[in-house]
Symmetry: C2
Subunit: 360 residues, 2 copies
């Protein structure tokens, strides 16, 4: 262990605490990416990912990059230059979706909501009816605001107008109810370092039949070779056609994180995240702190708190880190200096952590 | 340690053997990506990368993806749609460069050479003089053929015609002489899992002033948000502007791999790789096996052997793996079934490994 790497209690908006089992898996001997023993591990990882996403999608793989690479993969595979995207923007990551789509040459229409609130499905529908986009994209848990966007109403709209639905599940997969197949989510991506408790570096992604059809009817090649889902599927599929060298160690870690998810069970995880978020909220209110996310729209994985007048946000975070070894996050973009963000994700969502943080 | 992950002697074309020190670093506690302790580690990693690349380039970072992500980052940042690229193609990875550039909307001219030989600088110059490209790209060690392309003559041509030079150093950085600044290489990328002996998953990349100037005069945004070097530079630079969550654990491992490089010294590493490659070649010749790469053009990191008539290549590799736990590689693309590829990279380049393999 390196002496310059201290132990922290990671209660920021990610990365979340990585259990010892996962760190041990990470440091297993590296196998060649075509070794028969590694191919079995790839298959097992895909099966576990399907369970976590609640999907039977064949195209379910970890992208070899962070959550943002998963976001970019969904966008550039779904859209061709000139295609139309309607994206719900109620925070930093909605904005990122829009920016990535514009760079891919898409015609992007944003449906905005005030930071701290959800995107209103009725307003979204009005826009979708007018624009008739090829795809609709929303963020399930907006990490920058701590808001939970209900997905089924958005899925209804997307499908009624024959658009594909892309869902950012970076801060929800494994911690918040998410049913890819039941809800009809066409593309969904996440990050390894949130509720799955692996280190950052992989982006679990799943895509269904409607994306496969779209890929088959594209007139242009996907602009990114690295993120081309057709090529990635043949690599991760039965033909094992070489694409890039899989990040072997990170896949060991993701598999171990997913095994922990499976052992606990999704429903029990969702309940645990809900329970500990409520405990934290009560404690914060008791301390006289006010939440940023609108009541009724609050996510159980990222809890956002307004910085009281006269309190220095950066100083608060630095003292928590240096005096107690606890990491929490600050605001992003327009909320910088005005917000504290607390992540209770995966193994991080425990009563002990909540009480320790409140004591700090 | 997981029981389904056997120990292998990794003598394929990558990943290479990961020393215990590096695996230990990998399993250190995960820090937040904005933790002051992690920022110090990022800076140290960048310094070590500069030493390995022999450059003072400010823009020297590990891309959060595999070597192919580094390739795509170099291409999409350098070229805008309609820009011209001349690429030397003498194997699988030269072809990949061309393909990625075409997907980025570039006008690509290939200067081909027979697999197993270098790209002839005189032929390249004729094409460059005619095409007047914005950039020239070549592969330093073509992993698919085991050929070493001398870079200084290509750099001379690129600069004489005012083109930026992109060099693929995936299978050379840390194992073969490579002098980014002295040779005038404008962009260079590598992979963590070759001569640097970290696990696969990161792509060290360096880019100089001429790329910065190019970025400043682009008319369009870089098509990939995830691989946008300007954004990545502000994240890795003094402002620390949030871009994506750095793959913390993999950066620990890369830093440790680079420390080992620094401790041994680049020149001594180059000599060691040369010496062990010669030992292996002599042994292979003694066994009556013929090399694929042309004499005089052979790389010391990837040694390629023709499969003798009547020998089943796949069977040979499988027996080495199951009976001796030794991994070597087969041919790619047109050489599939006709070639064996042996990697002697970083810690893998040792007299003991050569003798064990020859005995096997």
């Amino acid at each position: 262990m390196n002496s310059d790497i201290p132990e922290r209690m990671l209660l920021g908006p990610g990365p979340s605490p990585v259990p010892q089992r996962v760190l041990q898996a990470l440091s297993s001997p590296v196998l060649g990416h075509l070794d028969p023993a590694f191919l079995i591990i790839m298959d097992e990882t895909r099966d576990l990912l399907r369970q976590a996403f609640m999907t039977t999608n064949e195209m379910t793989i970890p992208i070899s990059g962070t959550g943002s690479a998963g976001m970019e993969a969904c966008v550039v595979n779904t859209l061709e230059p000139g295609d139309r995207l309607v994206v719900g923007v109620a925070g930093y990551f909605g904005e990122r979706l829009a920016e990535i789509a514009r760079r891919a040459g898409a015609d992007v229409t944003e449906v905005s909501a005030e930071w701290g609130r959800v995107v209103d499905p009725e307003r979204l529908e009005v826009v979708v009816r007018r624009v008739r986009p090829q795809a609709v994209a929303v963020v399930h848990v907006e990490t920058s605001t701590g808001v939970l966007q209900p997905i089924p109403p958005i899925a209804d709209i997307a499908h009624r107008y024959e658009a594909l639905l892309i869902v950012d599940a970076v801060s929800s997969l494994g911690g918040v109810e998410l049913r890819v197949d039941d809800w009809g989510v066409d593309l969904c991506y996440s990050g390894s370092q949130k509720c799955l408790n692996a280190p950052p570096g992989l982006a679990p992604l799943t895509a269904g039949k409607r994306l496969r059809d779209r890929l088959g009817s594209r007139k242009t090649k996907v602009q990114s070779w690295y993120l081309d889902l057709s090529l990635l599927s043949t690599y991760w599929g039965a033909t094992r056609l070489y694409h890039h060298t899989a990040p072997v160690s990170m896949i060991y870690a993701l598999r171990e994180g997913l095994r922990i998810v499976q052992e606990e069970g999704l429903e029990r995880r969702w309940e645990r995240h809900q329970r500990n978020a409520e405990l934290l909220r009560e404690g914060l209110e008791a301390l006289g702190l006010h939440q940023f996310a609108q009541e009724g729209d609050r996510a159980p994985t990222v809890i956002t708190v307004r910085v009281p007048d006269g309190v220095d946000e950066l100083d608060t975070r630095q003292r928590l880190l240096t005096e107690f070894g606890i990491e929490i996050g600050g605001g992003l973009g327009p909320t910088k200096g005005r917000l504290l963000r607390i992540g209770l994700m995966g193994a991080g969502s425990s009563e002990r952590n909540v009480l320790t943080l409140l004591a700090g």
